[in-house]
Symmetry: C2
Subunit: 298 residues, 2 copies
């Protein structure tokens, strides 16, 4: 998988998505990928930016605390990077990245990836959090960049009951902006709503997410929480298996990619092979159960 002379590094990072067009590099615009690739190129003296592969391609304005990416770099460049002699080169690289990155991107870890690791295709799940403030007295201006201020109070038990009904493997077309030839079948592993310190917090975990899926699931939840929708409607929409324009997509700033899950090291390569095969455009039939594709936009 990794070309000779190159070493694959796993990079764990966090960012405030507020001032980015999203993870993905776009010419002339400020992206997380662009900042990190530029920093890697500078610190490792690659003569240009590095090329990162990421677990969760977060949209514009979405944050991350537990993003994972990988990059293949020349073994020589890594060894040549200056650092204290008592530090492994990966640790020296992390420190040097910290010194050149802007303060809204933090690299928490750099290490040699285990055999078969692919940040995107080896991942078995992505976990997101979404935070809503439904009481004006709980609005904290210091947290406003990562919390949705909602003008009406919410029925959290009803939202949670509606969310529970969506857990499992389904065609999430009603909650996705579909992409040509790509399946919208996903396995939702967890979806809960709880009140935590007066705030309304969703935890959403799935093998992968299609485009705008988390923000659509949150939008449907808010409709239930306000009493505009019956608690069964989010599940009924799912069963209709069609894009539904009544589902609102909530703003991105309440959303945080919290964690990406990987299988044990000896299953990394097998998982990547299965997941990669699922990315081929569909022709006639949806993929077999349990083998959903790893798209991960939100």
């Amino acid at each position: 998988m990794v070309s000779p002379g190159l070493v694959r590094l796993r990079i764990d990072c966090a960012y405030d998505g507020g001032a980015f067009v999203g993870w993905a590099r776009q010419p002339g615009l400020r992206s997380v990928q662009g900042e990190l690739e530029q920093a890697l190129g500078t610190v490792l003296r690659l003569g240009g930016p590095a090329a990162l592969t990421v677990a969760g391609r977060t949209d514009s304005g979405v944050h991350a605390r537990g993003q994972v990416a990988h990059v293949d770099v020349p073994e020589q460049a890594l060894a040549a990077a200056p650092g204290r002699s008592d530090q492994p080169p990966e640790q020296a690289l992390r420190r040097r990245l910290s010194s050149v990155l802007p303060s809204d991107v933090v690299v928490h870890g750099v290490r040699r990836a285990p055999e078969g690791f692919d940040a995107r295709f080896s991942a078995i799940w992505r976990r997101y959090g979404y935070t809503v403030v439904d009481a004006e007295g709980r609005r904290d201006p210091l947290q406003r960049g990562a919390q949705l201020w909602h003008p009406r109070s919410l029925d959290v038990p009803a939202m949670d009951a509606a969310a529970q009904q969506l857990v499992g493997e389904h065609d999430f077309l009603a909650y996705c902006k579909p992409r040509e030839g790509a399946t919208t079948i996903r396995t939702l592993l967890d979806f809960s709503w709880r009140r935590v310190d007066g705030l309304v917090v969703a935890e959403v975990r799935a093998d992968a997410f299609c485009h705008s899926m988390v923000r659509s699931l949150v939008g449907a939840s808010l409709a239930v929480g306000e009493g505009r929708w019956d608690a069964n409607r989010p599940r009924d929409l799912l069963e209709a298996v069609q894009r539904d324009s009544s589902v609102a997509v909530v703003p991105p700033h309440g959303l945080v990619l919290e964690e990406v899950g990987y299988p044990p090291d000896d299953q990394l390569a097998a998982r990547a092979t299965v997941a990669r095969s699922m990315r081929e455009p569909l022709t006639t039939s949806p993929p077999a159960s349990g083998a959903t594709p790893p798209d991960s936009s939100t």
Copy 2:
């Protein structure tokens, strides 16, 4: 205390100090006081900004979650402010303020102040928090506006032991930028350092603070936490009773005014009288024990 025809309102508010020159109004600059006074003038149609009195005059870049201010407004203007008929006028005013204020200032409460209330002079204590991140793995870009990223790990028990020695009534000259004629005697009611979820958090409570006092106490604590200072040195500096240039003043963005304490309603006026008398410039001797002045810059 309140002129005839006017009603005194207590205003509880919070702000992200990052984009302000501080609480205090300054011509041509963006201040919290300026934003709030402008908003009050607009919403109450006063024909100009209102005039606020505040409990804690926070410095540039310092945040607040529990700031308290008061304003005297014409009874007629309050009654005339549009609002739903089932809402008390104070609540309608709070909602209208929310709609005109920028998102970095939030008004959590507006209510008629009890007899004798003065946001500044009736206050009996101010409580601040300061948060330091001493492990790179704990740096959260979403919290970077309210946490100090410190490059070295800290000995929190040593910091806490040093802090405990400062509690009580002392002349805090070593930790103050003195102002002509103003005493630097304060009663430090609590000063502790704890590790909370991997972060290093100070809680500081005093009857009042002189200028840059909290940030100097934190600076001395960091010197102890890094092992550069013995845990007794902060107390020894106090006893020298002179301004000490070895005390570093830490950056403001880790500091949050969390809460202001007031006595029971029947003691508000008496407290204000005592505190106000202490603000007269000193001529020969410091004020009597237990009656320190209510300056509250940080």
